[in-house]
Symmetry: C2
Subunit: 379 residues, 2 copies
């Protein structure tokens, strides 16, 4: 028996309570049985998003939510600004271009966070920018972009929407939709809310809904105005993914029992312990600044292949973490501490990393990083 541990930045582990809630007999999405289920989910998401805005629930991956965020609030030919600091920043650009938007990019070196001043400058220079797209946590690099600072800049521009991909940041970071003025924020099920993959969430501000009135991009499946009308009746536009929404309620209930502030503190603490522990065994973090609380990207020492670390963790020790993507492939590996994660998941990760690296010839005194994590995670 090789016991398995899932420490990847999505899908994340799903607690048995949630898995079993989804094993209940199916209810019909157009029957009265379903109305309180969706009502509870939409209110729970508003709580998690810290918003009074509608939070739509879509039957799709998180990327489907991103696509909807582009299709519903812009016109073909609109100029928009994309912060591209990794694989998912790149995805914003690709989606915008697929639907005929003109993209101006701020290319941020991988491992760095966007400078809010640069966004401010671009908005000053080009008065036509109708939207600013960014990731909260860029999963490919483990960097957190300063959403509060960015939103305080974008919200000054009446004609510009602020769109945040919070797929991996939601739950791990305090993201104050209403207080900060985030117009559109996308989340996904297989991350912080501890669900299997299959649903996306998108919050939409009144400022954004106004734009939706004139958007001319063809849409049918991701038609947010129709989703909004349905949501008001505790329905979705097409067949509701009932089991996942039932699971969502179970997940939100667990998060609510913990309290939002405690949830954020837990993620912050786990992330800090992970960073300090790997640094204690001589490893460098991939982010040069502003590391995310959802996932830690770690550079492998010279001569050691990041993908081999990922493989050894999986095959020898049963730990599924993540390797690097694209230009970071081979150079890094990533450990998530997102959703259903607690102290001994970090201990497991650090112990496993030490054992793998030692096995690969890297000089490490076993327990060094573990002890650092223990100290930071003690009551």
């Amino acid at each position: 028996m090789l016991k398995r541990y899932l420490l990847a930045p999505g899908p994340t582990p799903v607690p048995a309570e949630i898995l079993l809630s989804m094993a209940a007999p199916i209810i019909h999405h157009r029957s009265p049985d379903f109305l309180p289920v969706l009502d509870s989910a939409k209110k729970g998401l508003q709580w998690l998003y810290q918003t009074k805005n509608d939070v739509l629930i879509l039957s799709s991956t998180g990327t489907g939510g991103m696509v909807g965020a582009v299709k519903n609030f812009f016109n073909q030919g609109d100029e928009v600004l994309v912060v591209n600091g990794g694989k998912f920043g790149e995805r914003w650009t690709k989606i915008c271009q697929a639907y005929g938007l003109k993209v101006e990019e701020i290319v941020v070196e991988w491992g760095y966070a966007v400078k809010p001043e640069e966004v401010e400058e671009r908005l000053k220079k080009n008065k036509n920018l109708k939207g600013v797209f960014v990731q909260a946590s860029e999963t490919s690099t483990g960097v957190y972009h300063d959403i509060q600072a960015l939103s305080s800049i974008v919200r000054k521009h009446e004609d510009t929407l602020f769109i945040v991909d919070a797929i991996s940041a939601l739950v791990a970071h305090d993201l104050r939709t209403d207080e900060w003025g985030i117009d559109i924020m996308v989340g996904g099920s297989q991350k912080g809310v501890m669900l299997p993959p299959g649903i996306a969430f998108v919050s939409v501000s009144e400022k954004a809904w106004k734009k939706a009135e004139t958007s001319n991009i063809p849409k049918f499946y991701f038609n947010f105005k129709k989703e909004r009308e349905n949501l008001a009746k505790n329905q979705t536009n097409f067949t509701s993914p009932v089991t996942l929404i039932i699971g969502l309620n179970a997940g939100l209930k667990m998060l609510q029992a913990e309290g939002l502030e405690n949830v954020f503190k837990r993620h912050e603490r786990l992330a800090l312990a992970t960073r300090k522990a790997v640094q204690a065994i001589g490893l460098e973090l991939y982010p040069k600044e502003s590391p995310a609380n959802s996932v830690t990207a770690i550079m492998t020492p010279p001569g050691i292949d990041g993908q081999a670390v990922y493989k050894n963790l999986r095959e020898k020790y049963g730990i599924t973490a993540a390797g690097g993507q694209d230009r970071a492939k081979g150079k890094i590996f990533r450990i998530a501490h997102l959703g259903y994660a607690d102290r001994f998941d970090i201990i497991t990760a650090i112990a496993g990393i030490e054992m793998v690296l030692k096995g690969m010839g890297y000089p490490v005194t076993l327990g060094t990083g573990v002890a650092v994590a223990q100290a930071l995670l003690m009551d």
Copy 2:
């Protein structure tokens, strides 16, 4: 306790074996754990579809599959023919129009099947028709369109694709993708394959893939060429809905154990028993011809409201069937015999209908319809 029975045409009941298979710990969709899971699902779907074509698996409702069938194989301005004989035929038209296709409709009176000769004539008259869209089973009316006859007509036209929405027909009807030459066929999880809602399936012929090369409709989420490339590697383009695909394998395994021919025979027999039983108590079928094996649409007697029958079944007897949609609302109610359905589900449905109608003042001798069903369902 009011014990609940789900007899709606989707979502359909999910067997405990499948629900529990989905409660297993989450695996990572980019890890080797997932490859055999998707491999098995894709082969199982090919078996069910009776095809060697790729069958794509999408994280969406069935409608998402329909949208993809439009976006990937046509160009803006293409002329297409839609058979519109109900709510879902209407949906083909709406999707095609949303993406700039020019739709020519064959409007079929609700309750009737399209005449294959009419499709033949239209194709003769208009040589520019690039596609023919139809439902196999039109869920809103309970009518089955003759897919074999239609495909034998369309396949003669080299430049015309034949696209079938088989969302509610798959499993209930023998649909021979390769033998008949169906280019694109869409299925959904919450129907015959006995899963919760959340994934769609789409088979694509080589003739259709050639069209995909030149399609100019903007696409990102439903990009079938990318899905095909990923499928070849036992992956999906975006995060795979792993639990639903695991459930799909469990469902396909059950269907395979029964054997495809037996699966079709079971549905045929259940449908026949339902029809004969309701006719025995004086009710008329809504379809005037070609009733589907997935769902039976039944007209309520004069003076009795179809929605009230639906409500009484649910509220008094715990049976969730379906009412009528749109112009059929109030005039009909619908009983599904799809997926995880067997003889005593039909007995339950007929008994319930008799009890409800008697309670509403309709003259029925209890047991009349039940006895007819029993006779047809005896070994």
